[in-house]
């Protein structure tokens, strides 16, 4: 039988799902054990026990200097920046994307500009942002917006333009104005795509967030990782990276569930 026609029984499928994760953990444990056997003070691949101790220190013991639980304050400040950046980007994408998609005037005015701006490497703008907006929250949020919004706008405008012309004409014969077409025909149909686009931009958004925090911040997940890097504290870095990954993966999962919940028809239409 051809590989493409293989049918997996549920237990096998489940086992395959977990296999790469188990392999990763196993490889780490073996590597760590081998290195520690050679040098008990090795910092590169710390044993699970020292990682657990570090997690306990970061997450469940108040910091000696400030009295904060560092992991949670870091998470809180990073998520604030991230959600502000992604929220602004989503709003911009919605308004500009739909406007550009249905109004020829806005299309002529903004499409070349947005396409141009989306090619600017956002990290190259970071010094400019820090200089012009200061080292506070604004410049970090601005970096996320500049990095994420143009792509989301382009994606959404494409989605609007891909709606069949027949639907727009049909809405006109049902007496809709431009505004009502945007509100009742276009907006609900592009919302699922907007959420998918947001999911895809979670990765880049975290990238810009961590880059900005690494350079200048006083709390945040990226800040912490780059801070403890100086002491080669892999026992802190590993759990932080795992935690960031977990946050991003949960957000990805939650947004997809939200899409299915809010727009049940989009699943029927093939997950548009």
């Amino acid at each position: 039988m051809r590989l493409i026609n293989q049918q997996l029984s549920p237990p096998v499928a489940t086992a395959l799902k977990f296999a790469p994760f188990a392999l990763l953990v196993l490889a780490y444990l073996l590597g760590s054990a081998a290195r520690l056997a050679e040098n008990p003070n090795d910092k590169l691949l710390p044993a699970l026990s020292s990682i657990a101790a570090a997690v306990d220190l970061m997450a469940f013991t108040p910091d000696r200097r400030t009295g904060d639980y560092l992991l949670w304050t870091d998470t809180w400040s990073s998520l604030k920046r991230l959600s502000a950046g992604l929220g602004i980007s989503t709003g911009l994408a919605l308004i500009i994307g739909i406007g550009v998609g249905i109004v020829p005037f806005l299309r002529a005015l903004l499409v070349p500009f947005v396409n141009f701006v989306s090619m600017v490497p956002p990290l190259a703008l970071l010094p400019i942002l820090f200089i012009s907006m200061g080292l506070g929250e604004t410049s970090k949020i601005a970096l996320i917006v500049i990095g994420v919004a143009p792509i989301m706008i382009r994606d959404l405008a494409q989605t609007v333009l891909a709606l069949p012309r027949e639907q727009i004409v049909k809405a006109e014969t049902l007496s809709a104005s431009s505004w009502l077409i945007a509100l009742r025909v276009v907006l609900p149909q592009v919302m699922p795509r907007l959420l998918s686009s947001l999911r895809l931009q979670l990765g880049p958004a975290f990238l810009f967030l961590i880059a900005a925090e690494a350079i200048s911040a006083d709390s945040g997940l990226g800040y912490r990782i780059f801070l403890v890097r100086r002491y080669l504290s892999m026992d802190v870095i590993f759990p932080y990276v795992a935690w960031i990954t977990f946050l991003a993966a949960s957000a990805d999962f939650a947004i997809d569930r939200l899409r299915r919940r809010l727009f049940p028809w989009s699943e029927l239409e093939g997950g548009r």
Binding site: E166, V169, T173, L174, S175, L183, R184, P188, E269
Partner: protein
């Protein structure tokens, strides 16, 4: 008095002449079937009537007034595909037109107005035989049911002219026969003029009061671009069909057509569950 009048209508795209000097009148309440070979401009003519595209030269009059420059509620349309909105349920699709028309800011009705509209919409849904499917999304309907829904949605606006662009072209023959009966009944009962583009001659002669064939008069390849299609044949169906006359409508069944489906009861059929 005519519903639609075309006077010396030309349509060109750049150098390509598509429609050449078309002139004809469409009587109110008639059912015109536009036929012709592929690419002869049938759908272009329909888009002109819809207001989606502008004539290059000539005039189109709707009830004696110049046709508006953009699509509007006086002209309903049903396409072969994409006629209904995938994000709305059957009920939502049927209610959409009146909702948009009466609420210009949010396009939604609430309270008593919504309940009244819902009742009207449910009557229309029953009329096209979709009762029981009110809460389904178009993707959950078969092709035939989607076209019934598209008809219901368009007819809620009580259009003066209903434009059909090969609406039944993608349906199975059995389902097509059923929906032809529905189409005849709706045309017969509602005060509208119908213009239907089709490539199915049998469909044209089954439904139409008049069959207009478009075609190119000159077909030499080197001059194809400079000569567009014009009316090749204009056939009034005999005996004449008249909308609103029960007797003629019923007499068609008595003529011994090869098709027994019309003898069934109309309300609510066909059973949606069998039409999948």
């Amino acid at each position: 008095m005519t519903a639609l009048t075309l006077k010396n209508v030309w349509k060109e795209y750049g150098d390509q002449v598509v429609l050449e000097n078309l002139s004809f009148d469409v009587a109110p309440r008639s059912f015109v079937a536009l036929v012709g070979p592929s690419g002869c401009g049938k759908s272009t003519l329909l888009r002109l009537l819809l207001g989606q595209e502008k004539v290059t030269r000539g005039t189109i009059l709707l009830d004696g007034a110049v046709l508006p420059q953009e699509p509007g509620p006086d002209r309903g349309v049903v396409y072969q595909k994409y006629s209904v909105f995938p994000h709305l349920t059957v009920l939502g699709n049927v209610m959409l037109g009146p909702e948009l028309q009466s609420e210009r800011i949010w396009g939604r009705l609430f309270g008593a107005a919504r309940r009244n509209l819902k009742d009207a919409a449910q009557l229309m849904i029953a009329e096209v035989g979709l009762s029981g499917s009110e809460d389904k999304y178009p993707a959950q309907l078969s092709g035939g049911m989607q076209q019934r829904l598209a008809l219901a949605q368009a007819l809620m606006m009580k259009p003066r002219v209903l434009l059909l662009d090969e609406p039944f072209g993608a349906l199975d023959p059995g389902i097509r026969t059923d929906i032809h009966q529905l189409m005849k009944r709706l045309w017969n009962e509602l005060p509208m003029t119908v213009v239907m583009v089709t490539h199915d001659l049998r469909e044209a002669f089954t439904l139409g009061t008049r069959v207009v064939a478009l075609g190119r008069t000159r077909d030499r390849p080197e001059e194809a671009a400079r000569y567009g299609a014009s009316i090749a044949k204009d056939i009034e169906i005999w005996p004449p069909r008249k909308a609103g006359g029960d007797t003629i409508f019923q007499s068609e069944y008595a003529l011994g057509w090869d098709d027994l489906t019309p003898h069934g009861a109309f309300a609510g059929r066909p059973d949606p569950s069998t039409e999948t």
